[in-house]
Each structure stands twice: as C-alpha cells, then as structure tokens.
Amino acid sequence: MSAPATGGAAVPPKVELLGVNLRYFGTEGETEALKDISIAIAPGEFVAIIGQSGCGKSTLLSLISGILKPTEGSVLVDGKPVAGPSRKVGYMLQQDYLFEWRTILDNAVLGAEIQGADIRKARERATQLLTRYGLGQFLHHLPRQLSGGMRQRVALARTLCTDPDVVLLDEPFSALDSQTRIALADEVAEILRRERKTAILVTHDIGEAVSMAERVVVLSRRPGRVKSDHAIRFATANGSRPAPFAARNAPEFNGYFNTLWRELEVHVEG
C-alpha cells in the first residue's frame, strides 16, 4: 500500500501529513473525504497526486496550505504544524482568478499586498517574473486582454512573487487547451526546478503527472486513502530529469503510464 519513496532519513521532510482524516459536516450527515493519509515530501521534491474525481486530491492541497484544518491527524511544514496560510506555501488554483479590475502587475503583487510585504520590492520581483514569462509588454494591461495561457502565467507569477518554499498546484492546466497545456507544463516544471521549490501537483491527467513529477502518489476513491506511491525515473545521459515534453517521448513513459492507468481503473474500496 503505502511506501514513502523519499531519500535518506537524514533530510527532514519539507511537508508531512501524519494520519490525516478530513470529514465534512453538513445537515445531511458526515462525509469522509480523506482517511488515514500519511505522506512525507522531501525539500525540492516534485510530487504528483492523482486519483479519480472526488477522491479528495484538492482537499489535500487545502490542508497543506492551511485554509482547511484536518479533523484528525496533523499537517506539518518544516516540522511545525500548519496553523493557517503562511508565506512558505504558495497555492496555484485551478483557474487564474485574476481580478479583472486590476492590471496584470497589480494582480501579480496581490499576495505580497495581502501579506504586507514591501510593495516596491514586490513589484520589482513581479516585473522580473512576468518579463521572464514573456509578459513584459502586458504589465499594465487588463486580464481580459490576455489569452488563457497568458493569464495562467500571471497566476504563476503571482504565486511565486511571495517567494514560497512550497508550491501547490491544483490542476493548473485543466482550463487550457491541450497545446498550451503541454507548453506551459514544460515552462512551469523548469521554473520550479530552477528555483528549487518543493512542488505538489494535483492532476487527473496521468501523462501530466508522469512527465512532470519524480514521484506519483495515487489516492483511492472516496474516502481518499494513499493507494500507492511510485518513483518516476528516466534514464538520461547526464542523469538529470528531462523536460516534460521530452519525458513523454522517453521509453519509460509508457510503462509508468500503463501501471498508473491500471491502478486508477481498479475498483477497490480501500
């Protein structure tokens, strides 16, 4: 079942979930969303979490980000329990949710504004990020003037502007067309790796998980439990991780894909 695939125990996990249960309370009764989740994620690791719809993947991210509290168990970042949203954890939601009344630049510094950071420095950093993502010409444009892919890049800039250690990605490409999706995946993976962020990607796209992450955790159907934990390794000349697009063409890809496909297809309660 569960086999954490982190490296040597010497490095403390960046993010850890210990026996986490989450139950929703409503007038109709209790719903169990997540059951007995224990995962440890090393610093700089890129983990993908996959599972069928409704298995609680997004809820998991909400727990790590601190906007939800577990019913039982604990969520730790840098060894300390998560008390609420913090500067350390950035959360990229399913859609960009840019504020249509703010310019691109103003949108990008939203997080810094809320967290009370130095606005001038934040604007400089945001400008750098946006320029790096090819949006330097659009700093003072309005969101409605940009395409979906461009807007999602702004969202990424917004997430990274506050310089979090951990970046949570909740199906960030699902609202985009497939070409943009694949292109953006390459960019995002490269940025996260270069900045040495710990990344946790939630997706229902197996190909995306395999091509971007070095570890894939599979959640069962509701209530979500950790079903399996796979290390993703590609053999390359210099031992470095290939870019997602290249990974799709690697020989190992299909093997992982099929394994994970079968895991998702199996109708097992636990």
Partner: protein, 276 residues
Amino acid sequence: MSKADIRTETGPSPQYREWLRRERRGHLAVRAAQLAVLVIFLVLWEVLPKAHVINPLFTSYPSALWPTFLELLKDSPQQVNILAHTWATVLATVIGFTAAMVFGTAIAAALWWWDGLYKVLDPYLVVANAMPKTAFVPIFYLWLGATMSVYGMSLAISLFVTILMIYSGFQGTDPNKVKLAQTFGASKGQILTKVVLPGSVPTLIAALKVNAGLSLVGVVVGEFQSANLGLGYLIQYGSQIFKMNIVMCGITILAVVSSLMYLAISWLETAVMRRR
C-alpha cells in the same frame, strides 16, 4: 481582429461597403422613428386639447409651456423662481441617494461581516423594504420638520432596497477569488476591501440606478405634502390654483432632471466598466 486584417490591397471590398451602408441606414431609421414618436406625442398634446377633444384645463399644451417657463424664471412675492425649486429638488435627491448608498453599503458590509446579525435582521429588512415608505410622509413632517422630512423621505425610500441589493452583491462575490485571497492569509477586512468591494462595483452601480430614481420619487412625494420649495411643491401649488401649465412645466422639468440623472449614471458606469 481589426479592420486592417481583412482589408485587401485595393481598399474595403464592395460587399463590406454595402454592409456598412445598410448598417448606417438601419441606425438612421431607428433615430428617425424615435424622433417621430416624440413629434407625434407633442403634436397630439398640442392639437387634442386645442380642438377640445380633451379638456385643455386638465392637460395644458406644449405651446403654453415655454412662456410659462419664462414667467416662472422670475421671483414673485408668492413664489421663488423655478430654478430655485429645481435646485431644491435636485439637491434633496442627490443627498438622499448618496446617503442611501453610503449607509446602505456600510450596513450591507456589517451584515456580510457578522452573519449572525444578518440572520437576525433579515425578516425585518424584508418587511421594511416591502412597506411603502410614502405612507409615512405626514408622520415624517412631525418627526423631522419641514425640510428634513423631505430629505428623510428621500433616504428612507431607497435605503432598504439598497441594503438588500448590495448585501446580495457582496454574497455573490466569486468564492474562488475569496479562496485565492485566503491562500495568501488574507484577514476578513482584507477580503472585504480587496475582493468583495471592488468585485461588487457592478452591483453598486445597479443600486445607484435604482436609488436615484427612488430618491427622486421620495423627494417629490415628500414635497407634495410638506414643503414650500421644490418641483413637487410647485406641481401641487399649480394644481391647487388651476394653473395646469405650471403643473406641466414642473412635470416636464422633472422628466428632464431624471433623464439627466440617469444619463450621468450611465456615463459613470461606462467609465468604470472600461477599467475592467
């Protein structure tokens, strides 16, 4: 795509030119019809009373309005001039709907902030909104005195619907935007100022439109009863001394005032929406 993309080297295509021509003709036809409606209305209003089909005592006619207006521009011992009346009504209306917007937004924010408060006050707000405030006009005079009762009516008539509209707008804020702010650790106050209020600007403008119209009604009705200044008062006075041309003059100016107010708000709306 701009027009430049489809233009051929030789200029706009003949089909496009024909399309443009048809569009322009369509617009002109609409404008001509609008003008015709106005002209027909004015002609009927002039001719029917003069031909005694309608009793001219009840309607006056357009050709009598301009001389009456000029008359009314002068101050007389019984009446101030009509511009003073107009200003009194406009001022009361503007103050009324401004106050309604300010208080309405503040109260809506309080209801948004403390859900318990909303739950307790909700039925009372619904009743207060449903009740016709114009029934209170005679009482307002006793409670507030002559001038303030007009302002009071102007505020009261639009306050409750404003609260409900704006609160509803606040509740309708995109929950994902709220969640986004929360992921950055935003406090409730920050969510209100950075997400809810800016996101509710279209609702605020819609409320302003409703407000301005209602406040004008409130002011005029209040003036009917308890004022000695204002267009509502002038209309009442003219009716009392059977000078229907004064009444119609007053009504025409009211129509102009309310149209201008609405136009101003529309302009504001366009200016604001351009930045979104």
